[in-house]
Symmetry: D4
Subunit: 247 residues, 8 copies
């Protein structure tokens, strides 16, 4: 909203004061009662809206997707279940679902993909999170290089892929258990590393706490960390960085 333009309208009488006051108070979003959908977010941040599906009721979720669909807007949902997909698909036929990454999206206006992000995992069990990273990054307009199962327990696998990894503008390092991949990668490359701890593991991994602490305590420079299993968050900030670098 352009405050100055609005004030000009008030001065000129184009806009009455009550309406202006209202507009100053109510920035534009659609109020569904149970949810307030931010259709102008795309203008503000340059990215389409995103929905955290987990825990939302069927009625609420379907209503939200329908609102986007009706305006011909795209939307990407994370942590969607198969059942949620099926419910949404009944009213939004074009919705797409990937059961591995649990991404549920309306994607009729794909963005051009630019730059490059390397998405690396320590093991094969981390691939579900990695696919959330990769698909979010692709949705928001990044090219992605997937490099899976290159954990530090067999470090020669990592070295074999190092040139390809470093070719990106930003690297996402995804690992559970000990979570050492992020720090080792950051010591080998000169690009920012976004670290994603995963909840893969057992016992003293404490649901991903071990990998989280490892990544936060990385001795190598150039690492910052998102929440455990937060593939979406990593894909988003990696795209922000990739786009800054691709201007």
């Amino acid at each position: 909203m352009d405050i100055k333009a609005l004030l000009a309208q008030v001065k000129s009488g184009e806009l009455d004061m009550d309406t202006a006051e209202q507009q100053l108070k109510n920035l534009p979003y659609e109020d569904l009662g149970y949810a307030k959908i931010d259709h102008h977010r795309k203008l503000r941040s340059g990215f389409p809206e995103v929905i955290f599906c987990s825990g939302k009721s069927m009625e609420h979720l379907v209503g939200i997707y329908k609102s986007f669909y009706d305006r011909d807007d795209d939307v990407l949902g994370t942590r969607a279940s198969q059942a949620q997909y099926e419910a949404v698909a009944q009213v939004v036929p074009c919705v797409e679902y990937d059961p591995l990454s649990k991404v549920l999206k309306i994607h009729r206006h794909p963005l051009e993909q630019v730059g490059l992000i390397s998405v690396c995992t320590g093991g094969t069990s981390d691939i579900a999170v990695a696919e959330e990273v990769a698909q979010v990054a692709e949705y928001f307009g990044s090219k992605v290089n997937r490099v899976y199962d290159v954990g530090v327990a067999g470090i020669h696998r990592l070295f074999a892929k190092l040139d390809a990894i470093e070719a990106a503008n930003c690297i996402v390092a995804i690992a559970g258990m000990e979570g050492a991949l992020a720090g080792v990668l950051a010591g080998l490359v000169s690009k920012p590393v976004i670290a994603v701890p995963t909840s893969i593991g057992y016992g003293a991994s404490f649901g991903g706490l071990s990998a989280l602490l490892t990544m936060l305590n990385s001795c190598a420079e150039g690492v910052s960390v998102v929440n455990i299993d937060n593939g979406f968050g990593a894909g988003y900030i990696a795209t922000q960085i990739n786009k800054l670098a691709s201007k």
Copy 2:
């Protein structure tokens, strides 16, 4: 119990000493063996009795509701399951159940609703807890203003509702994940804010611990906190405050 009146009766001989001693020891409640129901609590605190349903056996729970029903007393139960509702409904036909808030109540003598409490959530996933707050507050005699999905990630949604929120005597701020809503609200309004952390989230939210710590460490003045997901507790103390302000 009025100790002085009792002593007067002893002195006058109206009351024999053994009975007096007994009454001094046994304040009035109904002993079901497995439970001690406090029918005089309403006199003492001004609020009807409340039941924490979760974990109680069917037999015990039905017995407790029947005891209130038989005396034509109202009672509100929290965290009741659908199965508990169905069992109670067989012997107490007038019992009401809301599956979202999990409130199970006998409500034949509604209190007049006074004052105003604003019940705000950060997201749509927090609504189940918020409804427990709102329905408890309404049951105990407060008017309630529901303001849902106004979390700090899109802070213009909050500003648009600020005047309506602050019109209340007490504000309940309900949020999971980072839990920043309570502190931001308290910085914007001049009314006491009761903060309810929720267990919505994943990974390093640690079942609501993250939101709990955020709220306890709020830099803004005028915040105090109840247990994670404790909608009942927030609705109760908010009503105490609202009634003090509405006298």
Copy 3:
């Protein structure tokens, strides 16, 4: 700031558009560079500004107090050290310091004290926190009833004071170690109880964590909790409640 009045001024030409835009963006505070002092806070919240002294450099702290002093405003600082007091006193001669509560204040315009708050402690070691509660509440305009050393280990001491405690509009319960005072009090009175866990204790009290968890899990209704040792926060919200009840 009254948005409507401002818009009226714009319309009438009293205010040019650039100035109006500026005012809409910059709410009034004084920018010292290292700190942004909110002299209008009093208008907004009804309470004077408060300073968290711990960890601030001498230069910054003295500068802040001087700013208030120069405008003849009152200010209350918490967690101030003896050394901080002495440094401030050199440029602000009227500053007052209490070494027990660590309150450091300029207090030339005392508010009228209304209503009543009961400030209760479990033991004598909790008195330092209790005095922070009491002095903050008095500074902001509450009458205070101090009831110290009435912990549940010798519960007859608590019963002897119960009538005096309940005479208040709001009760602050301060306890370390097991922290049971808040829950027991809330079961006995009908006023809201603000619970303050303290770090008094050793071993499995884990710096106040034990008392904090006890208070958050209180079975009695009408308890909400502030941070460990946060006497200021309790005194503030108790005063908000007390003033609502004293209107």
Copy 4:
């Protein structure tokens, strides 16, 4: 085993040296391979053997019960499931099961019950643990006084039962959530209090951690604590104390 008697037999030639060495090494127990059953434990400790059923395979559990049954020994198992009961009952027809306390026992030689133990709970949800306490204590030869639902949130219920509680040699205080019952009781009576935190609660009760810490930090003298939900342990040590007092 009487070492001196054994040595005398060696000296006299009654016992050959190899056998003696074997006996010195192998104190008497029955080795089932997967389990080593201690049939002489009763002699050593004065109490029959006890089995922790949870997590044991059907084959192992049935084998263990059969071993006791075949020797006409009694045995008490804790945390047994309905399925485990049914499997054991097929080969040990006289086995008895209580689904509330989850106690599974062969009880053909009941001990005489002496003295008195008071078993108190804060709420009705704590009764499952309380019954484990009570039935273990009775099995090992204690009289038991059950006093349920006397938590501190309605402290007059506790006072009404105080004389009956204190008549025992040892008091077991069982509570979840805030867990304040143990400390309040210990402040009111002069008998040792064994505190049992329960996992009843939610949110910041952290599976019983809150009640555990409360009880460990009790300000009142005369409290010691067993593991969360450990009704067996409390029933056992309470009986040890009760028997010492009943000599």
Copy 5:
């Protein structure tokens, strides 16, 4: 206080009603303002009053000791510093201090010592806590058998002392680091074991948490646990048990 006798006095007119009401409300203690000293506690519990010295101000502590001294009552303080001793000694010349156990006491009327308590430590570093146990037990009238440095790392040292240990009515097992002593002892003896975890250790002992958890999870029957380093609590409950057994 004998309620029945009081009621009889009211009936007969010996006692006026206002006085009776007052007595029913105010059980006898001395109110120093900052502390409420319980001079009748000895009658109620059979044990003299105890003071937790740590964290009390000099003025308060000296006042409390003087109050006992003036009434010719004994008192035992725990966790007293050398400085506190010196301050108290100036006004209470007969006060005694042991710098190892940090016990500070007025002890002019020693109780007769009965029965026996065994006080065992895992290592020599646990002796400070053990002496608090032993001296508290002796002060309250128990005979004590000290058995130090018999930890499980060299288990033959423990076996050599086993007969002497088991001769007691109650055993106190004190250990830091892994804290296994309590469980091993309980498996070898048939008397109740009060376990005291100590903060001796480093790294993953986390200030005694490791030993605390070990003791709470003891597989052997007959163990209950007090707070980390809580020698006083262990000495107190061990004496309660010892006296019950010595009747």
Copy 6:
């Protein structure tokens, strides 16, 4: 890979530079895309490849086993479910599965078993983890002595087996709850003890944390610890030690 030999080939012209560069970068493994199988690991470490089955998709897991099967290589998988076994068995008919230890293996080229490892458990509930230890050790070429249910609560059972335990080159001590077995064993034997905490227990065992801390804080020398329930890790390092001792 022999770098010097490769360089010699480059110099002599046997190997062209591009190929050499490639080989220096790509150490030999098979890239399945989702997994990078290290068929040369056996040469490097002397042990065949191992697969962590838990959390892998059926498609990935079957593909990995098929890859080994097709090359006639052995492979051992841990934490495999019954369903995973059935899926793999459809394409790899010779695969073997043990539902107790959850080991899933192709084992056509058994290694000769040398030396001796003692695998000891505190209780019968720890046997599942113990069997993972034992079967991994046997698979990698160690003889194994199983000694189950010798926990410290009945320490005479342990002493009866001590000579047999100490006959090994390395001892694995497996225990849940208090976890004291490792420390007690290390105090009695002179061989290295690998400690495995298990998640057996409840309440304050916190999923094995209690046993883990106990073992890390062991006062006896010669203990080191692996992750909670990590039978594989213990079997592996015990075999490394056993083989060093058996050379």
Copy 7:
């Protein structure tokens, strides 16, 4: 190191095989025995070497700075004490020290400063960490915009600075206590936000844990997090991003 060039030299005979093997193994660093200084790091990562001063002995630290000084290389040390500065200054006269940020540097070859990073703090107590961020970023070649004391408790202060904050390529948000600044900022701007939790706070802030969890659980997109008080790490990755955006 260019592997292909090296191989060419081997082939041509310019380089003998032993030397080549050595170079492949020993990448260039200077071995001081106690430390291995990486003088070629600048080539590899584009950034000069950095030293973590805290905990290093005087002798080691002085030796390391002298090594850089002697080669006329720049170096930046973090968390240096005043005493360390004085010791280094005796042999490296040109070393510069800032006692607020604790940065100790040799800075004879300043890099050109490009782009822009906004460094924001919640309070004035966070300025020490913020200065580490800012000075590290400036040292590595970024322009910096300092925006201090704009925490969410008085959110109008933040809005007044929003345009200036968003003008940067990357934003660093530094806050203790509740730590909500990062999430609120990320909801308002479209640039990546690097969040730095600080240890400012008390009680349930648990040394910065509260702020750390808040930031990890941020609901707004575009936040990633470094270790508590890790100003250096934030300054480094922010500069990586800023330089990518400034190309």
Copy 8:
């Protein structure tokens, strides 16, 4: 003690029964009252006695060292302070102290050093712990190869030393902060790796917890872990392994 020989003596009359019983009960150690010194430990375990000096009183510590000195036995103490060294040196002139490792020893009968242990650190700040490892290993008869400052942040430093590291029978990996060194090393070598987390770090390293969890969750096979900063424990078990391999 040879039980069979003892029994033979009893049978033959060489040994009377009382003495035999005594010997069976009292394995040989010297009882100083406050400590029980195990002079025969060397026979049992093959290693001399070790003393944990931290927390012992001067009087006790000096007495213990004197006891060894008087018998001409060697002894090694860990975590000794400078003051403890000076006190012991006054009565035991030959005692040796290293202020870096804090080892205090009587070392008149050095053992022959055999085999090889590699002691590796991630950084220079870990050297104090590493020296405790190395000096303990040397004292007990191992050759040691020190490889310091080879952390994974600059992994080429590690590769340059890999051949030398792997030449040992056992590798000790010492690291703080993220603690990734142990897992990376174990992936590269085929020898058992004993991991020592250190308390070096700040913030979310939580006193070494981060490194501890990383090491426990190592994905590479062949890692086991000792307590945080427990250089002694690592040196001891590494020597046990080294000696088994050197037979």
